[in-house]
Amino acid sequence: MTDIVLRIDSLGVSFATDGGDVKAVDGVSLEVARGEVLAIVGESGSGKTVTARSILGLLPETATASGVVMLSSRDGSSEHDVVALRGGDLRAVRGRDAAMVFQEPSTALNPVFTVGWQIVEGLRAHGMPRRAARRRAIEILDAVGIPDPHERVDHYPHQFSGGQKQRIVIAMALVLEPGLIVADEPTTALDVTVQAEILDLLRRCRDDFGAGIVLITHNMGVVADLADRVAVMYQGRVIEQADVRTLFSAPQTEYTRALLDAVPYVGHGRSAAAARASSRAAEWASGEAVVEASGLEVTYPGRLGRSGFRAVRGVDLRIRPGEVLGLVGESGSGKSTIGRAIAGLTRVTGGSLQVLGHELNGVREREFRAVRSRIGFVFQDPASSFDPRRTIAEAVAEPFLIHGRAEHPGDARAQVDELLEAVQLPRAYGDRFPFELSGGQRQRASLARAIALRPELLIADEPTSALDVSVQARVLELFAELQRELGFACLFISHDLAVVDLVADRIAVLHRGELVEEGTGAEVLGEPREAYTQRLLASLPVPDPVAQATRRETLRALRAAER
């Protein structure tokens, strides 16, 4: 009986695309032992997901694989080379020898079937009778921590929360007791507090079920929390493989070192914020605010006959000139809604919201249009924030055209070039189309467009959450630099406490549409007063395996205290 559940030997994967063949994985060799968590980290495009999918033979038709992917069955009695398997043999291996946990739990479950049916489906495909399968489904739901599994087994996916759905996806992976679980970004779509719970569950998969886990992630905190061994991928190759503590304490390659350096830590932005605060004049605090919200409410209208959804419930906020307010909260906390309301994209339904001296409750679009030239907005998704049919220069020139500062995109070209240089993009990039730029470059062009008219207020809605860590670090640096030079006030929205801490003067924490806590970074993140903030902070995994182990205990104590 061997102890190695997965052995990958010089795996290569090529894709046929419209632009010719592209190689995604180039000679990767890896091994996973029983009861071991191997984390594969790397930036987007480094080939980590393709590697993971080829373990289960889940590559799309356009892909061609070479090399060996040896999967051992749980009892070690048989071995299969997944690359060579086809049809029925491949289906027999899937689920029994290796199972997959997907990134997005809401799309990994079929909405028209009960979760029990979906778990039973997998069992029956491997020849278990219906009654036994149902019993097993209830057992496994209980094992992954779904309360009342007898009842819940007949519920539909939409009746579960995001975290519970991911538990069910993990249950589906566990139900046949495979020797190996492939988890592709299992917590990326989840909030930090939920993420901590799912990581605990995955740890139990390893400890209680003895499964080997291949964890694909870009989050170094998650790696530090869960992994035993780490493989760093870069341009389709594994460039470094080490035990998790060794990797974090003594990275061998330049790339790994740079990757680790780019990860933001909570507490790194405090000195910068303090320096900015001390340089301000004393009467600054009493001056007129750029944004002043009192009792702000935003209700989204419901369907016929249903009451609307109150996304924001009585929030008081002030942003003074030149100040960066960081707004953090989990998904659904109303942070994006507040940003959109300030930009006039969402109607204010209650309370008062003053933006640059204009009341937005009941404002008409026509009156507000002139004020818009004084507000900039940076969107979350760099992929869709540019019109695919226009060049970057034309898009950045758009504000000048709309507000009558130029007749023609060509007239504004000089200013556009200056702006592109300000965000550290070469002038020649102005002639490119958005799809020819990378995510980070597009996000910088987006920043250029937002500051084109020298706005007094900038709203940045999760500007870096779609970017890789190394790219994020550069964009944040650039943001801080521009803010220092141009002195605009800013509402910086993010779900990542460490990112907000880096850029913000003050931090406001939102929870279910209400403002929980507000203060400077040192106050809110250093000594959080509210239980919610404390839990949020404790849930955030830090990219340091030793520190993370102690933090895990703190969080457990905190959770126990709440019960």
Partner: protein, 340 residues
């Protein structure tokens, strides 16, 4: 559009809709597209060159002072024989292509403009206008187009009609039926594009609605139009032929029309005179088939998931430049590059 110099644009052949699709198609999809394009090209050329190709005029009954005679089988003078009315079948079929192209053009021009504009405004503005338009369009869906065409033809010219009377009857009824289709397709695309960040970004910049609709939304919402246009075209031919077949068609002296000829050939079939019905019928089938093939393959090729590709060679291709180490990136201006 602007006087900005653009150094590197893709070659023209890669940007023209049909040519681009033809270049990247492979296998069966390529075969279908080429077959469709060839049939459609022949159809269009026939329409264009009908005066040169046809041995006789479409309403010609006699040559050199001598009548053709009715229901003559194919012969050297009349390659495809003559009809019961004494017309030359080959000439009628060739001239009929011209009428078919005219009805397509009129139907498309009438319906595409109205349908696209209504869809754009309705999808972008939403609200009560949108609801009313959607309900009206649903109601029109429930209405049989041929019935509408008959009503139109009676309204326009009392049933038996001239070239333009018959054409317009078919084209207008097609327009009424197809406006909802253009409307639906454009509206759903507009609703999708409307929520994209670049449209919101134009709103945040303070651009007026008209400008956003025409400059940002419309150019990005026309993806599926080619497919609807081809459906529209084949439906137009079928409706015109249907009108003719039911006896509401165009007088043989005004223009050649396949449906009319089929109608007149009805009684011939039972008496073994096959040539009067076979060729006009074949013309209708081929014209519709060609256009539909083009439409179907364009639709499949436009969707990356349906588009066939050659398989990649084992371990072929180069690893794409995905990232530069962040430390190195800090020193270069155009530093990082993640996935493309």
């Amino acid at each position: 559009m602007s006087d900005i110099v653009r150094p590197a644009r893709r070659p023209l052949a890669d940007r023209l809709p049909v040519v681009r699709d033809l270049r990247r198609a492979v296998g069966l999809q390529r075969g279908m597209l080429i077959a469709g394009l060839v049939i459609t090209a022949v159809f269009l050329l026939t329409a264009l060159l009908a005066p040169l190709l046809a041995p006789y005029g479409f309403d010609q009954l006699r040559a050199d002072g001598e009548a053709f005679g009715a229901q003559r089988p194919p012969s050297a003078e009349h390659l495809l024989g003559t009809t019961v009315g004494g017309y030359d079948v080959l000439s009628r079929v060739l001239w009929g292509a011209q009428t078919a192209v005219l009805v397509i053009v009129v139907a498309i021009v009438l319906s595409i403009i109205a349908g696209v504009l209504l869809g754009l405004v309705s999808g972008y503005l939403g609200g009560w206008l949108d609801r009313i338009l959607v309900v009206v369009c649903d109601a029109i869906y429930a209405f049989p187009s041929l019935l509408l065409a008959i009503v139109m033809s009676i309204v326009i010219s009392g049933g038996q009609s001239s070239l333009w009377g018959g054409l317009l009857a078919a084209a207008i009824s097609i327009t009424v039926v197809f406006i909802p289709q253009y409307f639906r397709v454009v509206r759903s695309e507009v609703v999708r594009v409307k929520s994209e960040a670049f449209v919101e970004s134009a709103r945040v910049l303070g651009a007026p609605s008209g400008r956003i609709m025409l400059r940002s939304v419309l150019p990005n919402a026309t993806r599926t139009l080619p497919l609807i246009v081809t459906l529209n075209a084949s439906e137009a031919i079928l409706t015109l032929a249907g009108l003719g077949f039911l006896g509401f068609g165009i007088e043989p002296t005004a223009a050649a029309e396949w449906g009319y000829d089929l109608n007149k050939a009805l009684s011939d079939v039972t008496s073994g005179i096959w040539w009067t019905s076979l060729f006009p019928g074949l013309a209708i089938v081929l014209a519709v088939l060609g256009i539909t093939l083009v439409g179907e393959s364009l639709n499949d090729l436009a969707d990356p998931r349906l588009r066939g590709r050659r398989r990649a060679g084992v371990s072929s291709g180069a690893v794409a430049e995905t990232s530069i180490a962040p430390a190195a990136a800090a020193s270069t201006a155009s530093g990082e590059d993640d996935h493309r």
